[in-house]
Every structure is written in C-alpha cells, then in structure tokens.
Symmetry: C2
Subunit: 371 residues, 2 copies
C-alpha cells in the first residue's frame, strides 16, 4: 500500500448519533462489506476500511462525512473506483455523494478530458464568447432530411451540430450513411461561410459497437462524439476519451442518469454527477437541463454544475457546461451572468420553433450571446 | 414500420390535468424530443411519437399512463431501448417506470437469461429447495486466503460461492490467479463432498477487459459470472449472456443502481429494475437487499422483485431472486413464505459472523432452509 488516498464527501440525513453511525458503516460497506466486529485483521482494518477524516454539521439533521479510501481499493479501474465511491451505499436512502477529492495517481491513471474548453475553442476558432450547440431531430427523419438540417444550422453558424441522443441506428436513419451525409453537409456550408462548424454524431450504441462507430466517425471527418454514460457506462466514455486514434472532443449526455439526482438526499450531487464524474471519465462538454426549462433543475443546481465543470480539479482540463433548453431572449442576461462566457449553450427545440427559417433562427440565437 | 409496439407504464404524481399533461410530454420527450406544435410531419406524429394507450388513477394525486412506442424507435439496441423507456424522463422528478410490456421482436432480439432457475438447478443438481450463495471477502485478503475461504464454504455445501463485488483486480488479490485458485479450491472440496458447488468470479471491469476476464473464467472452469450493470451498463451484461462460448449463468449485482429506486416517486420500480430489466439483459440471478437487513427495502418491495423475476415475461426464463442479508433463524419462516422455494439466498456477513467455523456455519444456514 502506498498510503495514497482519495476522499468522498457524503452528506447524511439523521440526528447526529444516527448519522455518525451511518458514516461508520459506509467505511465498511464500501470496502470490506463486513460488519466492524467481523473484520479482525489489523492490517485490513488499517489499510482497506474507509476512514472518516472529517465530520461536519451542515444543517438541521444533516451532516457531512469526509471519508478517505486507500487508492489501491480502486484497482486502477474506473468501474471499481465508482464502486468504492458509492456502489452499495447508493442503495441507502438519505446518503448523498456531495464532492470528490481525487489523488495524484488517479489523475495520472485517468487523464480526463483530452480537449476541454481550450480544445473546443481551438477547433472552432472562437477564443471567447459562449458557443452554440444544437441537435438534429426529430427521430423519424431520413438521412437526407437530417443532413439538410445540419446544412441549414451550419449556414446559420451554429458551432456544434450534434445528433439528437435518440438517433442511433434506426432503420429509417442508419448511423453510417447519416454520419457521412452530415459531415458532407456541414463541410459544404463551411466552405460557403468560412466558419469551422462541426458535426458530432451520437455513438451511444450496443457495447461491442461503440468503438467501431467512433472510429468510423473519425475516419469520416466528424468533429466530435456524443455519448450517454448512463446508457453505456462511464468507463466507455473514458475509453473513447483515451483513444489517441479517435482524438475527438466528447459531449456527454445525461440520458438515464436523471434518477441519480432527482432526490435531494440520495444519489449524487449535481456537481459530482454532471461535473466531476464527467471530467474523471474524460468528457469535454457535459449536457444538463438548464433551469427554467422543462426539467426541474434550480438555478443554484445549474450554478454548481457549471462551477464543477470549470473549477480546479487536479490536472484535469476545464470542460464546457452545456445547459440545454430554457433559453429565451428574456433569460439571456441572467444566463450570461450565471454561466459567464465559458459555456456551450445547447438550443434544441427553440431553434426549430422560432420560425421555419433555421438559418435565421441560428443567427438570432448567436446574436443573443453577442455574436 | 411494422406496427409492433412495446409499452411502458409510468406513474406520475400531480393533479389529474397536470399529470396528463406530463404524460403527453413523455410521448414527445422520449422520441422526437420536440414540442407537440413543432412536430408537423403527420407520419412522424403517427409512427414515432409515443401514444397513451391507457390512463388510470392509482391514488390521490397519482396516475398511471400506459404509453406505447413503435419498436423501431429502439433500433434493435438495448441501449436505445432503455433510452426510449426512460432516458430524458429519468431527469424529471415525480415520474417513475412501474412496469414494462415488451413485444415479440424484442424477445427475439434479446433472448434473455440463458440458464434461469432451471439452468441453475441443473448445474447444481438441486431440483428443489432454496439455493445458498455466499461472497468471498473481505477486500484486502490475498489470493491464497480467498481461495481458502472458498474451500471452506464448498466443504460446508454452499451452492454458489461468488467474489464479493468489490474484488476486481486489486494488486493484493489479482483477478487471474484468484480465479484459478478459487476454482481449484472448490473442485477439491467437491471431490471430497460429492457436491457440485461452483465458484463465480466478478467480471465487473474496465470496458475493454470484461470479455477477456469472462473468457478466462470460462477457460478456468469457473461456474458462473458476476457483473454489476450499474457499473458496466446493462448492455455489457447482455453481451455476456449472449456469448455462446462463455455459456455461463450470470449473477447481476445492484452496485450503483441504488439511486434509481431510493425515491418512491422517481426512477424505476423495484420490480422493473431488479426483475424485468435484469431478465431483458440476460441475468440468471438478480441480487437485491433483503428486507430487514441493513438496506431499506420493504417486505412488499422485495415481494415485487421476487414476483418480477419469476412471472411470465414473453419467452424469458424465470430467474432467481437473490435477496442478500437479513437472514436469521427467526426470519426464515417468513422469508420462505415470501420467496417460496425458487430463491437463491445470498448470505454474506452472517455466514462469517456466526462462528469461526465456516463449514459449520454453512451447514447451519443450509439447515435453516431444510437442506
């Protein structure tokens, strides 16, 4: 054992004695999975069982336990690291992962975002101002129709034009021809406008096909990849991010992750799920529902995600918080105040709904953010 | 479009008008991801947008919407099927997936459990009575120590001896030598007892290594596989189940899935998450926390899981509900009444804690279930 440890901050509901007992149980549950009295080996007690390093009251009937674990418990595997962080304890109501403090060998083992905010800005040739992203939809359209939409959005100057996350490989719009057609459509528009808009296909797929689709996207000159770690697992996101041959920025989509934040007292904090875990797994942009849209995230929760995407975190690059939905002329000043300039706004439905002229709609939304 | 549809039953909180509006939004959110008024193509409205087939009041401020989707929306992919079932809507508090009604082409595309209850009983040569499973732990022990535990449990007649789900490939107990040592230890005990106990290694691992570990387990004569779909994704479980060369029964572990059931009003019902989805993905046994143990599941929730593991579900085999923890002499009659005989009891800590004689402890727990 090297003595190197990583730390998880859990918030725990209950009166102080009960909460502290729960914290003690977490130390065992997440490692040896045996009761205190059964773990007799002093070396295992000392080196494997988690350790409460700090205990703080954070509200009435709410406490924070800062628990550290030997890095060796994670076996150098992202799957097992997630398991130590929250595997079994995720099943207990009233305990939430609020924050992670990782350690040097984890930052080395999992190098995190390959591009980050700087990388996106270099590719898209925009050194400042918010970026604009949109989604190609609805499901049901053909390859030609989807590519025509991509062309219009690129003409309008949308920086990142991604597949809707529900477009995978449906018979009416299969993956491979869609990627080729959309890349060609966006390139055609770029030649006309002189811009560097990119097309980002969705590679969320059956486990054995993710890498093939990602490599195909790369060979077809797509500009990035979209994946939903709630569907394919965070480790698959990591594999894409670490692949030097693919070498494309990655947008992470929150599909199926929602239940992990819908309770205030269980699951993960918004900052961990949509910020820290995304960077740990290598996403360059993290999609989440904007406040005031059709999902229930509060302004404060969105602020915490945005902060977590960009705050110092070991050697990891800052990534784009990518709030989706809820963007209207009236709300723009407040959104700019909240997110600042280092944000990628994802405008889906509103870009389709404003008028039938998608080029004009795109220019309108760009003008909202001063571009 | 074939006209074939699958159905998801969502429960929705709210007064009836608001809940019905939420149900209407689900139909769009899970498919076209555009507002009603933006979807103008009549073919897409008719064939892609979900359809409310039934609407029922199930309590005060609680309703059930039975929504069906064209099977083509799932693209024949388990990842995308899960996405249509609950991808974006998982982010909305107050909506829960209560039940799935799949359709013929899904049952054909995803063949489900390869072994099921019958398969386990054939392998283990027990045509009746509950089976007994235990876990090798704690993390921190060496390969030799873990194998010695496996030997003792097999001598005591525990049917299924699995890795604790936190044992992966730690430096102090690496995967490959552990598998070989535990297989040998269990075989040695079987030769002495004449029983067919099996060792089941944990293949939860980095995405690129799961299949290698599973094939290694098969070649080493392990008797089954353990995997946590919350860590590796349900589709990786499916890949293992469908691999004819691996051809081993699979135990699914709930690590990191907990947050999806800790709210009564969001996420998945216990029956869907620990029953239906497990069978869809091909698990042969589904581990969940028993009532009365250290997790908060109620007797009724456990009953619903047990029912969902064994109820008719298309062409799928019934699988073993595998309640873990909470087993004591006093509770056995009630547990047998609840689960019946077609159950695999997972006894972890209690088997270690009862006395230092693990062989005797195993025999004691077998005697509790009339064996």
């Amino acid at each position: 054992m090297t003595g190197e440890r990583f730390t998880v901050v859990y918030s725990i509901r209950g009166d102080e004695a009960a909460a502290l007992e729960k914290a003690r149980i977490i130390c065992f549950e997440q490692t040896v999975e045996l009761d205190d009295e059964v773990v007799t080996d002093p070396i295992i007690r000392d080196s494997i069982v988690g350790r409460i390093d700090r205990w703080t009251a954070v509200g009435e009937d709410r406490f924070e336990a800062q628990i550290s674990y030997a890095v060796e418990t994670s076996a150098g595997e992202l799957t097992q690291l997630l398991n130590v962080i929250f595997g079994n304890t995720s099943i207990k109501a009233g305990i939430r992962v609020e924050h992670l403090e990782l350690c040097e060998s984890i930052f080395t083992k999992f190098p995190g975002p390959r591009f980050g905010i700087e990388g996106w800005r270099r590719i898209l040739d925009h050194s400042e101002k918010p970026l604009l992203c949109t989604a190609l939809k609805p499901m049901g359209k053909s390859v030609e129709e989807i590519a025509a939409l991509a062309h219009r959005f690129a003409l309008g100057g949308v920086d990142v034009i991604k597949d809707d996350h529900g477009l995978t490989d449906q018979p009416f719009c299969p993956f491979h021809p869609r990627v080729e057609a959309c890349v060609a459509a966006v390139e055609r528009a770029n030649r006309q406008t002189g811009k560097n808009c990119i097309y980002v296909p969705n590679v969320t797929a059956p486990a054995p096909e993710v890498l093939e689709r990602a490599h195909f996207a790369r060979k077809s000159a797509a500009g990035g990849l979209l994946i939903a770690p709630g569907l394919n697992g965070f480790d698959t996101l990591r594999v894409l991010a670490e692949d030097a041959e693919i070498d494309l920025p990655i947008i992470s989509h929150p599909a199926l992750l929602g239940s992990m934040v819908t309770s205030k007292e269980s699951g993960f904090s918004h900052a961990v799920l949509f910020g820290q875990l995304q960077r740990l797994a290598g996403a360059d942009a993290s999609v989440f529902p904007n406040y005031g849209g059709r999902f229930g995230f509060s302004r404060e929760e969105c602020a915490s995600i945005s902060e977590s995407c960009r705050a110092a975190m070991g050697s990891y690059r800052s990534i784009f918080p990518t709030p989706g939905g809820g963007m209207s002329l009236e709300r723009v000043p407040d959104m700019l105040e909240l997110y600042g300039e280092d944000v990628m706004f994802l405008i889906g439905g509103a870009l389709y709904a404003r008028s039938p002229d998608l080029v004009d709609n795109a220019r309108y939304f760009l003008s909202l953010v001063g571009r």
